[in-house]
Amino acid sequence: MTEAFLSIQHVRKAFGSTVVVQDFNLDVAPGEFISFLGPSGCGKTTMLRIVAGFEEPSAGRIVIGGKDVTNLKPNQRNIGMVFQAYALFPNLTVAQNIAFGLKVAGTPKAESDARVAEMLGIIKLPEFADRYPYQLSGGQQQRVALARALAARPKLLLLDEPLSALDAKVRLSLRDEIRQIQKKLGITTIFVTHDQEEALSMSDRIVVMHDGHAEQVGTPFEIYNRPATRFVANFVGTLNVLDGVVIDPIAATVRIGEREITLRNGALGAASAGDAVSLALRPEAIVLGRQPGRDASLSGQIADVSFLGSVIRVKVGVGQNAVSLDTFNNSSAQPPIVGDQTEISFSASDLLVLH
């Protein structure tokens, strides 16, 4: 990786006796789009507010562009930020909102006007300059908030669940728009969300947070396909977790139900024969019935069938485990029937060991 633009080093934050962020480390490359992903209350906002300077870390450092900013006030950090609740100034017009940071910085009027016009173009609201925030829809308000955050050309952009107050359709289009603008301007960005789809579709890298620490940092591909822990596997995507027993740790064989399977992926670590082990399997890695090319299979009984439109989601009971899988809705084929015995097959390499 090139020299990090933003570096979060050993940050810890406690409110009284409750530790909200612990030993958080992250290096962000210039122009990178990072998501903080995690359930409610895991400390995403707190970590973002520490970067912004609204909260003081109990320990650790924040370095931006090679400069230690840990003790700088928010108004000295030159950061752009977008809030969940839009936070547009209700007494100012759209243009005045966008120009606010420029005016504070003493930018000459002509330059500021030009920048506002440019920003209005970027967010595709050029004719809204003289409107007041209450005259805009939620999606438009959030675009103006984005323009306001970017107008002074900050080097770092922070977004705290900027889409969560919007309805589904607007959320999708604005998601793409934010990503496009971010790429165009090449601005280093941290995006906080609890929506895994948002994080997976937008980010260069994702930081999955759990109880105040970074559980796993990786590209969307890595996070989705190679979750490092049971928490990540569960939180990102609908994952099947199978309970197994280690047969031979050296050969990496485990028993699930009545079958023995040899793992190809992920070592069993220090486990010894007879230990229980959790294994993860994505629904889309499994097919119903035996199939050539799939080297592992389990037998079970169909427990539930639900139509989701183009796909059918089938739940199969395998011993104690319930396994979900998706099959295409093929109108000429007989749909699975609840109660039938069946085989499910998959590649042993898709089976992940969870820690």
Binding site: F83, Y132, G138
Partner: protein, 263 residues
Amino acid sequence: MRTNRAVSWVLLALGCLYFVLPLIGMVEFSLRMRRGVYSLDAYWVVLADPKFQSTFAYSVVVGLLTIVVGIFIVVPTAYWVRLRLPGLRPYVEFVTLLPLVIPAIVVVFGYIRLYNTSSFLPLTGSATGTNILLVFGYVMLALPYMYRAVDTGLRTIDVRTLTEAAQILGAGWGTIIARIILPNVLLAVLSGAFLTFAIVIGEFTMAALLNRPAFGPYLQFIGANRAYEPAALAVIAFVITWACMAMIQIVSRFAPKTSSRSN
């Protein structure tokens, strides 16, 4: 049901009479200066009196100063309490309500003792000092109304997020209060200001005991020495007060929508 309604109307009418009859009586009396016919003579006499003009001007100036000083004290305080010391709000509110329970005469005697010519801050020693003391006394009298108005205004905006949004854009406290907070609570401030003005314009106790040439003491002086003019003056004072109240209504009618939250 019908009799109930009738009773309500009768009670309402009685209530109105109770308030309106003295007013009508006063207005009628103020018009009777010239024998046998109604005229505005009493008003002309009053308005032409140089003492009326000077005391009235004095009170207007003091009222405006009170409003300005009050805004400078109340807006930042209410803002800070909302932003950083929300736990202190009940106490601050209690303090601002004290002027309603402590009589002005007690306060003003306290002032005179505290700021007399041999004290550490001899404000009563000079006219300017006493004027300053009067303005601050009025700021205190207006505190219950001013603080509540501003605090209510602050409730309609998301103080914390707006503050943070301004901070991250580089703004310091002065800019935040002047460009974001004050404009958003301006209507509330204005209604507090009109109330303050209505209080100050006719206030007697403080002005009289500090021996200031204000409108209140002038009213009292005329009242004790003339027949028709006091009624005319009372009507004038009454009209000013009601005009202030009407302004509050008008100002809030024309309030622009400033909701920062939608959808």
